[in-house]
Amino acid sequence: MSKIIYLDNAATTQLDENVFEEMKPYFVEHYGNPSSVYSIASESKKAIDIARERVANSIGAEVSEIYFTNGGTESDNWAIKGIAENYVNKGKHIITTKIEHHAVLHTCEYLEKQGYEITYLNVDEDGLVNIEELEKSIRPDTILISIMFANNEIGTIEPIKEIGEIAKKHNIIFHTDAVQAFGHVPIHVNEMNIDLLSASGHKVNGPKGIGFLYIRKNIKLKSFIHGGAQERQRRAGTENVPGIVGLGAAAKIACDNMEERAKHLIKQRDYLMEQIEKNVDYIRLNGHRTKRLPNNVNFCFRFIEGESLLISLDMEGICASSGSACTSGSLDPSHVLLAIGLPHEIAHGSLRLTLSHNTTKEELDFVVEQLKDIVNRLRAMSPLYEDFVKAQK
């Protein structure tokens, strides 16, 4: 295997060299605990301030509304469990969707066991939430609407502004899991009426193990992780200074280059979709064709199973992902693919290709070529394809 073509940028991204350069001094040199009194600690403190400002700027928030966490998962847990706990006197009803990331879904399921009631909204065949259904599901005891900004599997971007308006109109707190959207599409917490927003560093060429939760000023959200007085007494634990610095740098780079990168990526994405559709039959595009993340391509290939597709691509140096159960060791294929109405056997044959701004057209051409061969090979092996062909005759 000579060259790697990495098309799994929704899973994690390569740390930007420039981001790493900004982080470096905070490992060995400026290691002071930012909470300390002495002056060498101020190096760390200043670095955190700058990072917080960069992050705040990237979503139109105030500096004091940004809280650093360990990643998107912690942010989701904190937002949802925190609101559930704090607003329990108002009610125990939460609205979310069927296509959230497990960080939201499993947190909601945990809350269900604690006596909360969760409405899991349906989505249409493109993965879009229905605004009317959302509004209808609001009850007097609804305390939170948590709907993801963009879906991590199929890339569909939800109508966040409209959802924010509904939430505001009904005076309900609105959380969005923006882990996939942050740094990739424009986000403005005020224009979109977002009260809480989760994001993760490593999805935007930042470091792993760092993320943030945006908490609107007026929102009462208690600590989720208790202990020291860090993060204005809301998130305890010694600050991960290099991580925070890296997140700040990554946020800045992503936002400064967003427009240009998105334009390029959309072109690449649409080219890849077109080429796959031209070269392989019996496939289905998953997710909305245009309301989708600039870097996300997701197809189901009928009669074949995702994992064997992934391994075959890997043999050619292509890194991708699948919503197939086999990759996770569980039985059912991705809940997202089932929620957009795919039958199990088709859902098992999904392939997600997520591009980076460095992906080249040559790489995409190579991928399509390989994909064509692999699909043919796997279909030749498939009893489902055999049955299908025989039935056609």
Partner: protein, 144 residues
């Protein structure tokens, strides 16, 4: 994730294909769970002269099908009956715990094809039971 043997059998599956005039054909698994195996047997006398498979499933599913067919090829029916999923796994130098069910499926696919052969020829094979219509309900792995 997989051993070299598994990867080898995935890349170069042995006995992949169909047998036109098969003595017995068995299909197990279901698409819902993401694994379907179909085994074709050509039995002459009491010996499995030829065997082919088709599989829809993950890497382990393909590899276990390939290995299971290898292990029964040329064997008598009785010998083939003695090929367990364990033997398949061992021959592949092991499988990840979440993939053990694939080896069971391979064993069951052979048995289902033998059952079909037995039905067609009106014979009884020692220790062979009627295959379940749907053996999809394998255990999910430990959840805490």
């Amino acid at each position: 994730m997989y051993t070299e043997k598994v990867m080898d059998h995935f890349k170069n599956p042995r006995n992949m294909g169909e047998i036109e005039d098969a003595s017995g054909i068995g299909t197990v698994g279901n698409a819902k769970c993401g694994d379907i195996m179909r085994v074709f047997l050509k039995i002459e006398g009491d010996v499995i002269e030829d065997v082919k498979f088709k599989t829809f499933g993950c890497g382990a599913a393909v590899a276990t099908s390939s290995m299971a067919t290898e292990l029964v090829k040329g064997k008598t029916v009785k010998e083939a009956m003695a090929v367990t999923n364990k033997a398949v796994m061992e021959a592949l130098d092991g499988l990840p715990p979440v993939k053990v069910h694939c080896s069971l499926l391979a064993e069951e696919a052979i048995h289902a094809a033998l059952w079909d052969y037995a039905q067609k020829h009106n014979i009884e094979i020692d220790g062979l039971k009627e295959p379940k219509a749907d053996i999809g309900e394998h255990d999910s792995f430990e959840e805490i």
